[in-house]
C-alpha cells in the first residue's frame, strides 16, 4: 500500500514539474507563496528559536558545571547544536504544523469544491499551477527562515546566559567564535532545502487527492503533518549520516 501512495506522489510531482503555461502567472503566484510562507512564519520562528537558544544555554551550563571546563564551551556547544540540528529541524517541524496544514487544507478544499476540476477543464495543469509555486517558495524561504532561526537562537542563548548568570557575554561570544567550521552551515542549508521540499510537497499531495468533504479535508491535513514530520526526521538522520 505504501508503494501505491509513494508512486502516486511521484506521478503528481511529474505533473508539477511540467512546463508552466505562462511563466508570468507562476512567478506572481510564487512571490505570493514566498510572502505567505516566509513573512507569515517569521514571528513564530523568531519567538521559538530565541527561547530554544536561551534554554539550551541554561541546560548546557547546568550539565557542564565544572571548574575544569571553560565557560566559553557553552557558546560553542550551543552554536553547533543550533546550526546542525535545532535550527533546521525544530524550525521544519514547526513549519510543517503551520505551513503544511495550511497547504493541505487550501488545496483539499479546492478539490472538494471542484475548483481543481474547473482549472483542469480550462486546460490548466492544476498540479503545476497550485503546487509548483509552493514548492519553489518552500525551498527558497525555509533556508532563509532557518538562517534567521539560527541567529535568533544564538542571540537568545546569549540573553539567557546573561540573564541567569550562567555565562558572561564575553565568554559566550568567545565560545561561538572558537573552532567554527563553515561546513556545518552547509549541512544546515542542505537540511533546510530538503525540509522546504517536504513541508510543501507532502501536504500538497495529501490535499490534491482528498476525496469527500470538510471532514476528509481536515483528516488529510492531520495526516499530512504526521507523515511530513516523520519524513523530516528520517531525512534529518539520512543527511546527517551522509554529510557528517
Amino acid at each position: 500500500m505504501i508503494f501505491y501512495y509513494f508512486g502516486e506522489y511521484l506521478l503528481l510531482l511529474k505533473k508539477v514539474f511540467k512546463r508552466p503555461e505562462k511563466w508570468r502567472i507562476y512567478w506572481r503566484e510564487t512571490m505570493h507563496e514566498m510572502s505567505d510562507i516566509g513573512i507569515g512564519s517569521l514571528g513564530l520562528i523568531i519567538i521559538i528559536s530565541t527561547f530554544i537558544g536561551a534554554v539550551m544555554t541554561m541546560q548546557i551550563a547546568f550539565q557542564l558545571d565544572s571548574d575544569f571546563i571553560p565557560n566559553s564551551i557553552i557558546g560553542q556547544i550551543n552554536r553547533d547544536s543550533n546550526i546542525l540540528e535545532l535550527g533546521p529541524t525544530i524550525s521544519a517541524l514547526v513549519l510543517m504544523g503551520k505551513v503544511g496544514s495550511s497547504i493541505s487544507s487550501q488545496i483539499g478544499s479546492m478539490r472538494v469544491t471542484e475548483q481543481i476540476d474547473a482549472l483542469e477543464i480550462m486546460g490548466i495543469n492544476a498540479a503545476g499551477y497550485l503546487i509548483l509555486p509552493k514548492i519553489i517558495a518552500g525551498i527558497v524561504m525555509v533556508p532563509v527562515l532557518v538562517i534567521i532561526a539560527i541567529c535568533c537562537a544564538l542571540i537568545g542563548g546569549m540573553l539567557g546566559g546573561i540573564l541567569t548568570g550562567a555565562v558572561s557575554q564575553t565568554d559566550y561570544i568567545l565560545g561561538i567564535q572558537a573552532g567554527f567550521n563553515g561546513f556545518t552551515i552547509a549541512v544546515a542549508m542542505v537540511k533546510a532545502f530538503v525540509y522546504g521540499f517536504i513541508i510543501t510537497s507532502i501536504p500538497a499531495y495529501k490535499g490534491f487527492y482528498v476525496r469527500g468533504g470538510a471532514l476528509e479535508v481536515g483528516q488529510a491535513g492531520t495526516r499530512a503533518v504526521v507523515i511530513g514530520c516523520i519524513t523530516i526526521l528520517a531525512s534529518d538522520y539520512l543527511i546527517t549520516a551522509l554529510m557528517l
Binding site: E21, K22, I25, S109, M110, T113, E114, Q115, D117, A118, E120, I121, M122, G123, I124, N125
Partner: protein
C-alpha cells in the same frame, strides 16, 4: 458536435455507466436527466475528461478526445466552458479575476481588453458592480451567473452545465435556463446540461437523454416526452401530481 460511443465507467465493482451512445448537436441545448445515482454527472465528467471512461470514445467535432493526452486536449479545453453545480469559483479571487483567469493564462490581451471582456461577460449575465466582490460575498444565484460569465469568457464552442438550477429559487432558476438557451444560440455552441429540474426539461429541452441505472433508457425532445410510454421515464418525470396534471392538460 459531440459524439459519445459505448461509454462504460466503473468505480471498483460498481458499474455506473453501461454503454452509453449519443450525439449532441451544436446550437441546441441537450439535457441529460435521471434520478439520483443514475450516472448523469459521471457521464458529463467522462465527456469533459475529468473521468477516464473504462471503455468507449468521446469525439469533439470528429476528434477523438479520449485518445488524447493532457497537452493534446488543451486546444479543445480552451473551447470548453463549464458551469459547476456549486459554481466552483476561485475563492481567493474577485469576480473579475475569476472571469479573466483563463484569458490571463491563454491570451495575449492587454489588461484593459481583459477588463472590458470581463465587463461584457458580466453584463451578458445581468450582473453589475460586482467586479471587486469575492465569491463569499455573492448569493447562490449570483455565483451561478458569475460561473456562466466565466464559462463564456473564452467564447466557448462547447458549454457544459452540471445541475445549473440546484439550490436556486424558481424565478432565478428560469433566468439561468433562459440565459443558457440564449448563450447556446448566440455562440452556436454544443450545450449539455445535467439536470433533474422539470422546469428546465420542459423549458429548454431540445434534446433529452434519460438515464436509468447507468443505461440510456430514452431520448427525444420535451414534446416527445409527453407521449412517451416508457414506464421508468414517466415514473421519473411525472412523479408529482402537478406534472401529471400538466401532462394531461397539454395532451
Amino acid at each position: 458536435m459531440i459524439e459519445i460511443q459505448n461509454i462504460h465507467k466503473s468505480f471498483g465493482t460498481n458499474e455506473v455507466l453501461k454503454g452509453i451512445d449519443a450525439i449532441f448537436d451544436p446550437g441546441k441545448v441537450s439535457l441529460i436527466i435521471g434520478g439520483s445515482g443514475s450516472g448523469k454527472s459521471t457521464l458529463l465528467k467522462c465527456i469533459v475528461g475529468l473521468h477516464a471512461p473504462n471503455q468507449g470514445k468521446v469525439f469533439f467535432d470528429k476528434q477523438e478526445f479520449t485518445a488524447m493526452d493532457f497537452e493534446e486536449k488543451v486546444p479543445i479545453r480552451k473551447e470548453i466552458g463549464m458551469l459547476f453545480q456549486n459554481s466552483a469559483l476561485f475563492d481567493s479571487m474577485t469576480v473579475e479575476q475569476n472571469i479573466i483567469f483563463a484569458l490571463d493564462m491563454f491570451s495575449e490581451m492587454s489588461k484593459s481588453e481583459k477588463r472590458d471582456r470581463a465587463n461584457f461577460c458580466l453584463e451578458r449575465v445581468n450582473l453589475h458592480n460586482t467586479n471587486k466582490l469575492y465569491p463569499a460575498e455573492l448569493s447562490g444565484g449570483m455565483k451561478k451567473r458569475v460561473g456562466i460569465a466565466r464559462a463564456i469568457s473564452m467564447s466557448p464552442k462547447y458549454l457544459f452545465c452540471d445541475e445549473p438550477n440546484s439550490g436556486l429559487d424558481p424565478a432565478t432558476s428560469i433566468l439561468i435556463d433562459e440565459l443558457i438557451l440564449e448563450l447556446t444560440q448566440e455562440y452556436d455552441c454544443t450545450t449539455i446540461v445535467v439536470t433533474h429540474d422539470m422546469n428546465s426539461v420542459m423549458g429548454i429541452g431540445e434534446y433529452i437523454m434519460f438515464l436509468h441505472k447507468g443505461q440510456k433508457f430514452w431520448e427525444g425532445s420535451n414534446t416527445d416526452m409527453l407521449s412517451s410510454e416508457v414506464m421508468e421515464l414517466n415514473d421519473f418525470v411525472f412523479a408529482s401530481p402537478l406534472m401529471k396534471a400538466a401532462r394531461d392538460t397539454m395532451k
